[in-house]
Every structure is written in C-alpha cells, then in structure tokens.
C-alpha cells in the first residue's frame, strides 16, 4: 500500500512538470481530452488568417456535441429572402443542401456585403512579428497590401503614425488609415 502511495506521488510530481494552460477551446466545448491543470490566465489573444493576416480577437463557437452530424453552424446566420432561407457567413451567401452549405449568388434585393478581398490565390507569407512588434498587411485600394507595423505598448498597440489602440486593431480600422 505504501509503495502504491509512493508511485502515485511520483507521478503526481512528474505530472506537475507538465502543467500548462488548458485551452479555452476545451473549456468551451468540452469535447477535448485535456491533461493538465489550468493555472494560467491568458494575457491576450489575436489571430491571423492562415498564416498571412492578422486580425481582431474572436471568440469560440458554441459547443457542438461530438459524433453528431451538425446541420447548422453559428457562423451561418439564417436570412429569409422571398421565402427562401439563406445563410450568411463571412459575407457570402449559402443555402443548406444535403451536401452542406452551397455557395450561391446573393439574392436580389439584398445589398452586397463588403468583400475585403476577392482573390483566389494564396500569397506568400508576408507577416512578420517579433516579441513587441507585429507587421500587418492591409489590403489597399491598388489591389495589393500595405505593411503596417504595430508596436506593443503596455496592454495596447501603437501604429506607425503614433495612434494608440487599446486592443489589437481590426483590419477594417487599419484600412481606414493605411488602405489607400
């Protein structure tokens, strides 16, 4: 019995070496295997689109049960136009079919959402970040990108013109100043 106790304490001690923050994803969705104890507090989050674009913070989607076919997603907001239910996601319109969400042309009478970029080619990685500065490529009016360097200042960020952002600015915010 004493040996079992010793072995258990040994693994507990070793396990403590592996303590790391449990992802918010796990806590939000509850369908992840997670080993470890959540002792840390996230100090900030941001994302960049794969992996060439930085943007604003976003939040986890609602929980979906595991192994259940999902026929709708919170990302797809239903819109009924002329009796037809469309789903809008990231500015694009979809109808739900047996094959999933089918992209369709926006229905007549619905104002077109602002599409930030309609290219189909993936650019080479152009985003560079260091510990204190982040380079964000902003789509400009010429069809290219303008590199904007943001420096971390306390809990916020400072832009090239000295402007201060309390949180990591959205692309739309930066585009107003640097997208021309």
């Amino acid at each position: 019995m004493r040996n079992i106790m010793r072995v258990s304490i040994f693994f507990l001690a070793v396990g403590l070496l592996f303590i790391r923050p449990t992802s918010s994803y796990a806590s939000d969705h509850g369908d992840y295997f997670s080993f470890g104890v959540d002792l840390s507090v996230p100090v900030g989050g941001y994302y960049y689109g794969d992996p060439y674009y930085y943007g604003a913070p976003y939040y986890a989607d609602p929980y979906y049960p595991r192994n259940v076919v999902v026929s709708s997603s919170s990302n797809y907001q239903p819109v009924v136009v002329n009796g037809v239910t469309y789903y809008v996601n990231n500015g694009a319109y979809y109808i739900y079919t047996q094959y999933g969400y089918q992209a369709v042309v926006a229905p007549v009478g619905v104002s077109q959402p602002v599409i930030t970029q309609s290219a189909v080619t993936v650019l080479s990685p152009t985003t560079v970040d260091t510990t204190d500065s982040f380079t964000v490529n902003i789509p400009n009016d010429k069809g290219g990108y303008t590199a904007v360097v943001l420096k971390q200042s306390g809990k916020g960020f400072v832009g090239p013109q000295g402007e201060f952002y309390a949180e990591f600015p959205k692309i739309s915010q930066l585009k107003v100043m640097y997208g021309k």
């Binding site: 040996n3 079992i4 072995v7 258990s8 040994f10 693994f11 070793v14 396990g15 592996f18 790391r20 923050p21 992802s23 918010s24 994803y25 969705h29 369908d31 992840y32 295997f33 080993f35 470890g36 840390s40 996230p42 100090v43 900030g44 989050g45 941001y46 994302y47 960049y48 689109g49 794969d50 992996p51 943007g55 976003y58 979906y64 076919v69 999902v70 026929s71 997603s73 990302n75 996601n89 990231n90 500015g91 694009a92 319109y93 079919t97 047996q98 094959y99 999933g100 969400y101 089918q102 992209a103 369709v104 930030t116 970029q117 309609s118 290219a119 189909v120 993936v122 789509p139 692309i171």
Partner: protein, 124 residues
C-alpha cells in the same frame, strides 16, 4: 499491481505529450472520396472570399491546436488541416484563421477552417 500503475502512468504522460489536438465537425452526413496524398489543398484566409462563379459546398469545419513549446507552428497546423481535408475528400479550405493565445510562459496556436468541395459540373 505496481507494474500496472507504472504502465498507466507512462501512458498518461505519453498522451499528455501529444503535440496537437484535432477536431472536425460535419455539416453534412454525405461522405466524399478521399484525395490522394499528392493532392494540393489550397487554404484561403477568411479575407479571401471565393467567387460564386465557381460553386462549392462547405462540408465541415476543422480545428487544430497545439502549444508553441511543443514545436507547433502555424504552418504545421495548416499542413495538418490539409491532411484532414484530403482524408475528408475536400478540395480546399476556406475561412481559415490561426489564433495565437499567449500565456505567461507559452502560447497556444489554434487553426480553424472550413472544408469545401467544389460542385460537380452537373450541379453548377
């Protein structure tokens, strides 16, 4: 008895050391034939909206995450997503984003994207 506990402990430690976690959510119960390993899956950031002139179906979404301290980087997550897309028979990944959540001594990287299948000519 002691050996069993030791074995159990080591298994737990090995599982704890897994570099990434993956989750896939189906939007449909349809299944598509997997692509071969050489099929090139394009990954489009959410800023790039595909033209509707090339119709497609969104068949599901994938999420992969891992810690920077385990050597995980955005490119690795994207490549894993491509691998999953091939297995699911997807042609490309859209609305992709990679989130980095910094902790005081580590960073959690999380890739998200949606798998699409281009509509066959008959349904265009």
């Amino acid at each position: 008895m002691k050996m069993k506990i030791l074995l159990l402990g080591f298994v737990a430690l090995i599982l704890a050391g897994c570099a990434t976690s993956t989750r896939y959510v189906d939007y449909t119960d349809q299944r598509f034939p997997p692509k071969d390993q050489y099929f090139s899956v394009n990954v489009y950031p959410e800023t790039q909206v595909l033209p509707v002139s090339n119709p497609y179906y969104v068949i599901g979404k994938v999420s992969i995450e891992g810690y920077a301290s385990d050597g995980v980087n955005p490119e690795m997550l994207a490549n894993q997503a491509r691998s999953i897309a091939r297995k699911r028979g997807a042609d490309a990944i859209i609305n992709s984003r990679t989130e980095i959540i910094r902790y005081w001594r580590d960073a959690l990287l999380r890739f998200r994207g949606e798998l699409i299948v281009y509509a066959p000519a008959a349904t265009k």
